[in-house]
Symmetry: D2
Subunit: 396 residues, 4 copies
């Protein structure tokens, strides 16, 4: 049983609280901080929290608190982390870790110096589908991973601060790309080093300074590519789709808009349908259980189980730091229009991985290009002569 301080009381804090007090069914939020008195009070009532405050340090230092859950706007993360370190509290922090790599690195170094538990709340690598897909990939079902794409687009976030470049530190790349980068990194292998990034970004629709649409490619040392597609201008709901391709197969997951739940209504029932749905009539696509489908339950399970057993969770501040470094390169690339290097001052994975070979032996003289059964029922091999390079068809 863990006692939690919730730092923040907005949209994401409420999602977290629903999961924290629901899933393991034994943990309890004992303190809540909000910048606004009315918000912390309202939250304390809704979630039955004894202590509420507008003084962040009071919430964090509260002696009943075992672990602090930071659910604040991006520009307030560092302050909260430093306070947790000061009071030697375990931490879980919402994504992204920092507004940029420099902030993330300082936070990483702070928690490691203070030697406190540090969890990074990247929920989308904890969705049930992701967990099962990752397991299949690790077991070799897709062969060598070549490419992984994560798409996260929706009509824009719910709170004002996201849209403010100073508070948020960026636009949809930072808000949504942080998910995508960690998803691709996890599929490709966290031990493989991301080395360079190409990114296009633009402000196509919204009257803001930050980008509202971006596409990026992250190249890894072994030649694999991670792709992200992020936008705050998508119409149609919350589009969360991941794909991964390997030499032996592919996995497509749809995490939100197409999960086997389809509903048509003329609109007589006016319920909340799903996060970021745009309508409550016509064809609608709810998910059964948002907290579970979005990974919150398995994420907090890992966090609290890890804390209790003295282990590191799957996602730590170090992962948050790597993501921020990759996104910094993306922002730089969007401006320079060049492939920008991923500047990892701290790298704990493998080094010197070379690109995988792409030569499959057919016989002593040939490489195999392709084997197929044709339209007309023939078994056909397409082969390349090792010496001459000549490509031939062989029917057997």
């Amino acid at each position: 049983m863990q006692r939690i301080a919730m730092i923040g009381s907005g949209f994401i804090a409420r999602f977290y609280a629903d999961s924290l007090q629901g899933y393991r069914s034994k943990d309890k939020i004992v303190s809540v901080y909000s910048r606004k008195d009315s918000s912390s009070k309202k939250f304390s009532e809704d979630y039955n929290v004894n202590h509420f405050t507008t003084n962040m340090e009071d919430a964090i230092s509260n002696p009943e608190v075992d672990i602090v859950c930071i659910a604040l706007p991006n520009n307030l993360h560092e302050e909260a982390v430093i306070l947790c370190c000061k009071h030697r509290k375990a931490i879980m922090i919402t994504k992204p870790l920092g507004r940029n790599a420099a902030e993330a690195k300082r936070m990483l170094q702070a928690v490691e110096e203070a030697n406190v538990f540090n969890g990074y709340l990247e929920d989308l690598v904890y969705t049930p589908k992701f967990i099962k897909a990752e397991k299949s990939i690790r077991s070799g079902a897709l062969g060598r991973i070549l490419w992984s794409k994560s798409r996260e687009t929706h009509p824009g976030p719910h709170s004002d601060w996201f849209w403010d470049l100073e508070q948020a530190g960026g636009g949809c790349i930072l808000d949504l790309g942080c998910h995508c980068v960690e998803i691709a990194r996890s599929y490709i292998g966290k031990e493989i080093k991301p080395i360079e990034v190409m990114c296009w970004a633009d402000t196509q629709v919204k009257p803001i300074d930050a980008e509202d649409h971006a596409i990026g490619l992250v190249k890894y040392e072994n030649g694999a590519i991670g792709q992200f597609e992020v936008s705050w201008t998508f119409r149609g709901g919350l589009d969360l789709r991941d794909e991964v391709m390997g030499t032996e197969g592919t996995i497509w997951t749809n995490n939100f808009l197409r999960t086997g739940f389809e509903m048509f209504t003329t609109g007589k029932g006016g319920d909340y349908i799903a996060e970021k749905a745009e309508s409550n009539s016509g064809w609608l696509f709810p998910v059964g259980d948002e907290l579970n489908e979005l990974g919150y339950n398995h994420m907090f399970m890992d966090m609290l189980d890890s804390l209790e057993s003295g282990k590191q969770p799957k996602e730590t501040f170090y992962d948050g730091y790597v993501v921020n470094v990759v996104l910094d390169a993306a922002y730089k690339s969007a401006k320079s229009k060049l492939w920008e290097p991923v500047k990892l001052d701290i790298w704990r994975g493998r080094e010197g991985y070379t690109k995988d070979s792409h030569l499959v032996e057919y016989d002593a003289e040939h490489y195999l290009i392709k084997e197929e059964v044709t339209h007309y029922g023939e078994k056909k091999f397409i082969l390349k002569n090792k010496a001459s390079g000549k490509i031939i068809e062989k029917i057997v």
Copy 2:
């Protein structure tokens, strides 16, 4: 925190144990009974259970036990229930409750006389999708419910006893139809009385005495229809699809084979993919989290929360009894080829519900049949004259 005796150690007992010891993360199986010594021992090792036995009463009467979970073949349910009543233990029992209504009624009366907590483990009305769909229906999003279909088909159960008419009490109607009947009943409204059943059943493929394929219609007092389609001869995996239609909309849920997770593999990874999948290469459709998708987690949450708070769970022995009565009528109909009455000796819902009206007023002289915008952009009403019955088109 609840301490559980697991009575049975087979396929379903293991599914239950995974959920019971996983989801609420505070409950514990403290005793396990199996007919075979080796099985109870193996189960006790796998799930870290202190006490294992081949004496059912020892497991049930174990003083550490708060609640007994009965996961036995159908022909052993009554014996186990009687023992629980004798020792005044709370009970959760797998589906179907009895092999027939007479058994179910005796069990219902036993638990009510003994005044013990009684939960009926109908997991498929606890899936996250079902829960959300039911909520939408209750809020009126589909209007008046007209029809509900539940389809449960797969290539046949895993254990020998299912195929034995004496032990199981029936074939796929009893094994799978029990789910379907309760799903339709829940969508239509549990307070509405099922009144008669028409059922076709046949043994089309398997060398057994029981039916391996059946389709049934259950008529409710308000004119709504519940439909079930069940089979042990379906090829392609576990097909669990529900549909419900109302005057204002429809809901389609796919609970297993199409949930937004699609995988192609040439077969290099030989993992267990999903319950009743038929292949581990080609296009596969795993689910993210079987325990959750199949409703086990929310079911046990309701059971144990209800037990702790002194309330009845959503599904009780009474529901199991109603389902058995409906299925008895289905079996009778499959033989008699007639619509057979649902003989509910005990009925706790509404009585005397009449069929809903199907007259929508258009104006003083006409009923509205249909309103539409045509192919060619016209607004058209199809109306029926109240006096003459004449049907006309009116363009406005």
Copy 3:
């Protein structure tokens, strides 16, 4: 090149005309009849038809006409057919053939006596998906066919006469069930005799005398079951889904609402989306090419190619007659609540087909019930002893 008289100028006549003058790109409508002068004139302008009339016989007897396409309300079919026979014209007629089997039989006998080409315009056995599925089934991909379901539901037809029991001859069973019966019959095998029908039907929503919702089961001589689900009360568009199950596989086709075309729009474009769509904003599911997806193109190709080559088309008046006989049994069953026999005075298929065996040999002493790889990686056989009937599990 064929010259066509179109008898009727309504919704379906226009669909037919679009396909007839589009697909083979060499045929021409040369005469059009409508009960209303304005309609026949409008049609003649829209489709560039030289001759238009309100005298049916004039259109049919027009010497330029090679083939007559009857697209009239059901109660006018017989009159038109008789006129075609009188003038020895080839005929294609919309579905259903008659309002009942008696009408259908008279029309069948008339065309056969007159020895004129007779095509039955059952478009849904000509959809590209159906044609491919049927071919797979005939090649054995699904093994022995056990069950076939066809579902056709939508919010109700476009013209007044459909809703009038006298003109239409029935409600959604006749309007939609005629498709479903022929689909199932084609999957199961047209040479297999349908023997009895059980049907539920009700008027649940509309203020009409005919049924607006029905479900029926058609039993074939070999034990296969054809199922239909039809409704004029479905909300959400035109739901056309077929399923077929055999001993070796299954096919699911979605012919309209889910064909790989998904669109979200806030509603700024007000176009016609698809037949019977209910909205033009939110998530919409158009089909690429309605004429092709609904089978019109391949149907008319077969009709006109057959006419030109002196062969019978795939669907003739005889098929229309069989369908009417099955539907008569359905209507009778809906009233009698009994399985009603299919009274085929004329039967040209196989007779005396017995139910298929369901015994698969495992070894000299056992039948095979099931073979599977378990959850836990074991290869398991479930067997039945031929002599004792005892069912056992065998692990190998």
Copy 4:
């Protein structure tokens, strides 16, 4: 009625022939050329062609021929086009037009100087889904187009020459990217100028000199982005998916693998399932009618109707030229790692289009960022002060 010379007799020539002699049902292939005598003879037998030859000029100059259909490897396109110009024959040519922009430009200039009909056989902008989607977009249903993605991946082409860099001129970018570029261009608007390209390409799997996987971004003058994802290393079949996003909506089309046709078979039927399918057992996803779904029918309809009516078809050599110029920039970018300019020597669309505005007025003082109904039922506006740039939330 058109008489066609087919130049080439391989996989694509056969697809073309099936459509040409099928759909309009009045056209005829009257001459066929193949490099191999046996192939031209076989083709002439299969398609009932009177004249077959291994002399290309003989086939083209044949006086019976109205139009020449070039279905040759890329390196032979120019020779064939020059011969057609010499003999003043109308031309339809397979994609891509040239191996590079220089070749394409010479061919474009040749046909325009010779003043012959020139059609570019880009089938994927003629699929029924594409045609309907494009019409919706033109009618404004998606608002201003922001982004369009086309994905074409499969396990690699069927003939040896594709894999040979000299004959093909490139790898999957040229083979598949040519489709994607024209799809995005058509959605965004053909009159909008593509200005620069960023592309990643690699040879990840196959032992070839050309690329087997690539991703590219094409920027248009109005700020819209066209994205292509192409690969010869995808496992799972032929993956053809397009997406397009605008300010008011989105369209997703799946052209091959998920079109509402799902089949499971244990494998007893060994038929050809679909182009580039990788298996004939397990879950399979055939399409109803490949020729139609892949656009061949509507493409040839447009070509031959245009030829007959003296109009230009939708796709001409000019479009092929534009595509080649864009792909040249992609190849250059893949090497230089820079955004490369699209060097259109010939440009017939609009010039000087500026990026669209992204400011939506809320009131005199504010721009509108977002309007939504929250989780908690509030109507919320997120606004930006025009003067101060400050972002606020306003609840009404």
